[in-house]
């Protein structure tokens, strides 16, 4: 067993063919499965979501990323190794859902933010924010949202069994 462990590379797993394509996950973590449900008038009902989002975004705060070397926009930052560095991810990219302008991520306004994260398979962990602007006509109704990684031939999003492979589906219900 010990010998076996010694044969392993500390940096790269021997086989990576089990996760050729990343899965998508959403934040905040819904309480029940993948259904968000809260009431604008009741802060307690979304308190948890906000907390969760804040906690998730903590590592992305500017002071946490100050050691990360910059990358230029629009250009592929190719690295040769053996030491790899990550690019900074300014929270501002998330715009209204960054939490910087709106610490409540739009929940009290009925415009909840949901972050969709692509699983890290190696070093990438792209993040996309979804804000769902509900108006009074939508209150109390369940809205199903499906996010897919599209347009990339090597990223699967149609697996029969894995509902999170390159896609994620969640439901949101906002009560007044």
């Amino acid at each position: 067993m010990w010998v076996m462990l010694q044969t392993l590379n500390d940096e790269v797993p021997k086989y990576r063919d089990q996760i050729p394509s990343p899965g998508l996950t959403v934040f905040p973590k819904p309480v029940t499965a993948l259904e968000y449900s809260f009431s604008m008038s009741n802060p307690k009902s979304y308190e948890g979501y906000i907390k969760d989002l804040k906690k998730f975004l903590e590592p992305y705060m500017a002071q946490e990323q100050k050691n990360v070397t910059g990358c230029r926009d629009g250009v592929l930052f190719e690295q040769k190794g053996p030491v790899y560095v990550a690019c900074p991810f300014p929270l501002t990219l998330l715009q209204p859902c960054s939490g910087t302008d709106d610490p409540n991520f739009g929940y009290p306004q009925g415009k909840p933010c949901v972050l969709v994260k692509m699983n890290r398979g190696g070093y990438l962990q792209p993040l996309v924010a979804v804000q769902l602007p509900f108006d009074h006509s939508g209150y109390g109704k369940e809205v199903t949202v499906e996010c897919k990684v599209d347009g990339s031939s090597n990223l699967k999003n149609q697996d029969d069994r894995d509902k999170f492979l390159g896609r994620v589906t969640f439901k949101v219900t906002v009560h007044a």
């Binding site: 086989y15 990576r16 089990q18």
Partner: protein
């Protein structure tokens, strides 16, 4: 009713207890019937008590209030019929087919699987009830278990479908019609209307309609062989000749055959009360014990259940301690117990037994009851019937005495065609008498059949003479044509001789009178004797020689006949009206020629078979209805009484002291007469069975045969009984294994038996013993092999619970092993040749030598199984580590790992896994664990080939089926892993080649480990290793 009253009087609510108190009677009736049944059985086991044969005709007439010439009036007969019921045998309560089927479904091993299945459904039910996301595994497992039991049940049911229909064949023996005299008229009635006291006429060819006391007869002979085992027809006459009703001449028995002559008798018993009816009721009423293999399987189930419950409960407690909820802990408990059930073993055992049964059938042992396959191997005592089993059931001339010399004849089954090489003229005369003064004849169209095998008419002795002369002298037909018979007095029990007069062969137109019969009677007729063809006057010396020869031949248990002749004077020339009723010719001063003795000789293969049984530690007891002298002679002939051993009587004769002076213990052999046995208590019988190695029971009744079997069983022996007659059937049924004769056996005996020797050859039993012992050994191996993989199947679940790691092996993969890859290899062990000469060792002691003992369990579970489990976990950890999850990371990961909505579980490299991706890796691990078990089972299979020998002694390639088994399981494993679509169907995934290789070192280790263990067993007999690990 007594119970009812008693119960009633106790109850305060019933002030005046009615004897018909319903509750009371019901229970008491139940008790009573049970008691009554038991009592009846005891009653049936007793000897037939009857005094009708001792009564005079007047007493008889009074007893049955019937006129011995007119018979019953039709009205009275009707009355009695109403009172006694019809003259038929009560059929036994038949077991409906579905009950038999259910017995197959719910017996022994199946019960274990059913329990497993029910537990599975229970666990599933609990999960559903408490709203957990039910893992369907439990339900599937339950279904599969149920399926396996049902399939195996159907299989064994169809194998045993030809099960016993004892009473039916008894029914077939009931005669259809009977000729009775009622109101002075002879009328033909249905046999079941015959009543006690009826006057019945029987003639040659009839079946006796009821037990009859003969009141008049004419040359009547009956064939009692189906009842007493006596192979020759017995003459019947009104005289009371013996105390024993079975031996006296004036009783005829229900469903025996009248061979010749006529007789009239009074019915003394009908239906179930007849002697035959009693045997039938006895046979069908006997409780049949468990077969040894069934007992072994029960023992095995106990062991397995103990292990399962122990593991289950300990891990239940552990789970509670580890903070699992009660519900989870109970699910774990059930899971662990079920995981211990060897799903495939039932099928494996059944198939192994079937294979052996098939193999035995090829060797002429037809097994009716699958479990009986092994019983013969455990047998420690064989009670063998003599006639037809040990002997050829064919009277054969064995010795001749003429010219004052004893000549021996060839009695083997294949007579060598040599002429009886005697140039003596006396032989010529003797042969002529034997051929001419003989009523037997060959049936037509048998020219191509060997003489010994030809069918004849006439009684056994005459046929024996006929065949002997035909074989060793010349054509009897020609002799009879040349010497036509002109007069004849057939043999009868008063005369004890047979006489015939023939025209001389030469043209002298004179006659010769020939006579044969009981030697002492014949000698009385003679005044001269023939020596080397010359006639000498009878003298004392000749009389003495005759006596010696008669005693000598008689002492060999042979039937001796004397022969003499007289050339009639010339005035009895051709055309003389010989009158045999009022004899008008001389029948004295005959010339004595010689003696011929006959015996039903032992079968050629029997002595060898008996000695093989001896070597195998099996005691062979002869139990026969025949006379002690004959029985003893045959026993000596076949080695049941071995050469050097003596009976008490032998010792007494040798030392010239009285029998009472000889200590019974000093004699190795003993011949017990049925009448002695009758007087014995069961303790005395036990003593005989214990103290004497070589036992012959002679003149035994069917009931006594049964008592002997029970006596042996009481002493702990596993008893095999061989027999062919109806009289043997109670013993056959009671025996641990009843063996009937296929050719000569009566239908009843075949029905009562568990096994049928198709060639009637006792030697086939030896084959049966060998096969039985082999399958017992091989079943051990098979079970050891199958149980081993239980450990690598259970431990994943245990560690899943304790360490909280992702489940290393799932239910589906476990089933793939138990019902897939393990099956053929386990069955292939049934083809394994014996490790040593299994016919040289003692029969196993049913109390100590179990099929599955704790050593087998500890070897399979504790040692080999553990190594296999380690191999499996190694592969499992390798796969997970190589995919990013190091062992340390896995500990306690269970809840997060199995969380359906946690789709970004991080591994040691920071890779994030969706639930489904994790599951694919997990199922890949299952597949790899499965493949690992297959690989380590290769070496397990090879080490299970032997229990003591090295593989290199046993030969790795001798068992081709086993090699096929290895190939098959490997291909199956590869198929399951690589076949496209398996990921969807069974959730099994393709493996990388090096994951196959992970387990190879462990496989080699298992092989070396066990080779070493067996090395110690061989080289240090009785040492620690043998004591602790030899299973």
């Amino acid at each position: 009713m007594g119970f009812g009253r008693k119960r009633g009087s106790v109850s305060p609510h019933e002030p005046k207890p009615s004897p018909k108190s319903r509750r009371g009677t019901k229970t008491s009736n139940k008790k009573k019937t049970k008691q009554k049944k038991k009592k009846d059985m005891e009653e049936l086991k007793k000897e037939v008590v009857m005094d009708d044969h001792k009564l005079t005709l007047e007493e008889l007439s009074a007893k049955y209030s019937v006129d011995l010439t007119m018979g019953h009036s039709p009205e009275k007969a009707k009355e009695i019929l109403l009172r006694d019921g019809p003259n038929t045998l009560t059929p036994p309560p038949t077991t409906p087919e579905w009950v038999k089927f259910c017995k197959q479904l719910f017996g022994g091993f199946s019960l274990l699987l059913w329990t497993g299945a029910i537990l599975c459904f229970l666990a599933y039910g609990i999960q559903v009830h408490f709203g957990q996301k039910p893992a369907k595994d439990n339900m599937y497992l339950g279904l599969v278990l149920a399926f396996v039991v049902i399939i195996t049940g159907c299989f064994s049911y169809s194998q045993e479908a030809k099960s016993s229909r004892i009473m039916e064949s008894f029914k077939n023996m009931v005669p259809q019609q009977a000729l009775v005299i009622r109101g002075g008229e002879k009328i033909q009635i249905n046999a079941h209307e015959v009543v006690v006291g009826d006057l019945v006429d029987v003639k040659g060819g009839d079946r006796i309609p009821a037990d009859l006391r003969i009141i008049s007869s004419r040359g009547c002979k009956v064939d009692n062989s189906s009842l007493t085992g006596e192979s020759e027809p017995q003459s019947r006459s009104p005289e009371f000749t013996h105390e024993n009703p079975l031996e006296t001449k004036n009783i005829c028995f229900f469903s025996t055959n009248c061979v010749e002559g006529t007789a009239r008798g009074v019915v003394i018993a009908t239906g179930d009360l007849t002697v035959m009816g009693r045997i039938a009721s006895l046979t069908s009423g006997l409780a049949v014990g468990q077969t040894p293999i069934a007992a072994e399987i029960e023992h095995f189930i106990h062991l397995i259940t103990m292990v399962a419950v122990f593991l289950g409960v300990s891990f239940f407690l552990l789970a509670i301690l580890l903070g699992y909820t009660w519900l989870e802990a109970i699910i774990f408990l059930i899971g662990i117990i079920v995981a211990n059930v060897p799903e495939g073993l039932l099928a494996t055992v059944t198939v192994c037994l079937t294979l052996t049964a098939k193999r035995m059938a090829r060797k002429n042992c037809l097994v009716k009851n699958l479990e009986a396959v092994e019983t013969l191997g455990s047998t420690s005592t064989i009670c063998s019937d003599k006639t037809g089993t040990l002997t050829q059931n064919r009277m054969t001339v064995s010795h001749l005495w003429f010219d004052k010399t004893v000549y021996q004849a060839d009695t083997t089954e294949e007579h060598s065609g040599k002429l009886f090489g005697k140039g003596s003229d006396t032989w010529f005369v003797l042969a002529r008498i034997a051929a001419l003064c003989n009523q037997a004849d060959f049936k037509a169209h048998q020219e191509t059949v060997p003489i010994a095998k030809r069918v004849t008419t006439g009684d056994a002795s005459e046929s024996a003479l006929l065949k002997f002369i035909e074989q060793f002298h010349s054509s009897v037909k020609e002799m009879r044509e040349k010497n036509p018979k002109v007069a004849e007095i057939p043999f009868n029990s008063t005369n004890k001789y047979q006489l015939s007069i023939h025209l001389q062969e030469d043209s002298s137109q004179t006659h010769v009178l020939m006579m044969k019969g009981a030697p002492e009677r014949i000698l009385d007729f003679c005044s001269s004797f023939l020596l080397d063809g010359q006639e000498y006057p009878m003298d004392d010396e000749m009389r003495k020689d005759f006596q010696n020869a008669y005693l000598e031949l008689g002492g060999l248990g042979e039937r001796v006949l004397g022969f003499c002749f007289l050339n009639l004077p010339s005035h009895f020339s051709k055309g003389f009206p010989f009158n045999t009723d009022e004899i008008n010719f001389p029948v004295d001063n005959l010339c004595f020629v010689g003696l011929i003795s006959m015996i039903d000789p032992p079968r050629a293969a029997v002595p060898d078979a008996v000695s093989k049984c001896r070597d195998a530690g099996i005691k062979v007891i002869m139990v026969t209805g025949d006379h002690p002298i004959t029985a003893k002679a045959i026993a000596r002939g076949v080695g049941i009484i071995s050469e050097g051993s003596e009976t008490v009587e032998d010792i007494a004769t040798r030392l010239n002291i009285s029998v009472s002076q000889v200590s019974a213990r000093s004699a190795k052999a003993i011949v017990v007469h049925g009448s002695q046995l009758k007087e014995m208590s069961s303790k005395q019988l036990d003593k005989i069975l214990q103290n004497h190695k070589e036992i012959v029971f002679a003149r035994t009744s069917p009931q006594q045969k049964l008592l002997i079997v029970e006596g042996c069983q009481r002493l702990g022996a596993i008893v095999a009984v061989t027999g062919d007659g109806v009289n043997d059937s109670p013993a056959l049924k009671k025996a641990d294994i009843g063996i009937a004769m296929g050719i000569s056996g009566s239908d009843v005996s075949k029905q009562a038996a568990d096994m049928i020797l198709l060639d009637d050859n006792f030697a086939s039993i030896v084959t049966g013993v060998e096969e039985g012992r082999l399958i017992f050994d091989n079943l051990k191996k098979s079970i050891a092999y199958t149980l081993t993989s239980n450990i690598p199947e259970i431990t994943p679940f245990l560690l899943f619970i304790i360490l909280g790691i992702p489940l290393p092996l799932g239910t589906i993969t476990i089933l793939c092993i138990d019902l897939g890859t393990d099956m053929v290899p386990a069955i292939s062990l049934a083809y394994e040749p014996a490790e040593s000469d299994i016919m040289k060792r003692q029969p196993r002691n049913a109390k100590i030598d179990n099929l599955v003992n704790h050593r087998l369990i500890s070897m399979a579970y504790g040692q080999i199984g553990m190594i296999q489990a380690v191999a499996g976990f190694f592969t499992y950890f390798v796969i997970l580590a190589e995919n990013g999850f190091r062992p340390s990371e896995l500990l306690g990961i269970r809840l997060r790992w199995d969380d359906l909505f946690l789709n970004d579980l991080e591994d040691n490299y920071g890779q994030q896994w969706t639930f489904e991706q994790r599951k694919v890796v997990e199922f890949t691990c299952h597949t790899a664990f499965f493949v690992t078990i297959v690989v380590v089972q290769w070496s397990d299979l090879i080490i299970c080939k032997t229990r003591r020998n090295s593989i290199f002694q046993q030969g790795l390639f001798r068992n081709k089926i086993l090699l096929f088994g290895i190939l098959e399981e490997t291909l199956l494993a590869a198929f399951l892993s690589y076949c496209p679509g398996m990921d969807v169907a069974l959730r099994m995934y393709p493996l990388k080649l090096n994951w196959w290789l992970c387990s190879i070192p462990y496989s080699i280790f298992i092989f070396t480990y066990d080779e070493t263990r067996r090395f110690f067993i061989r080289h240090y007999p009785g040492g620690w290793v043998e004591r602790e690990t030899y299973y």
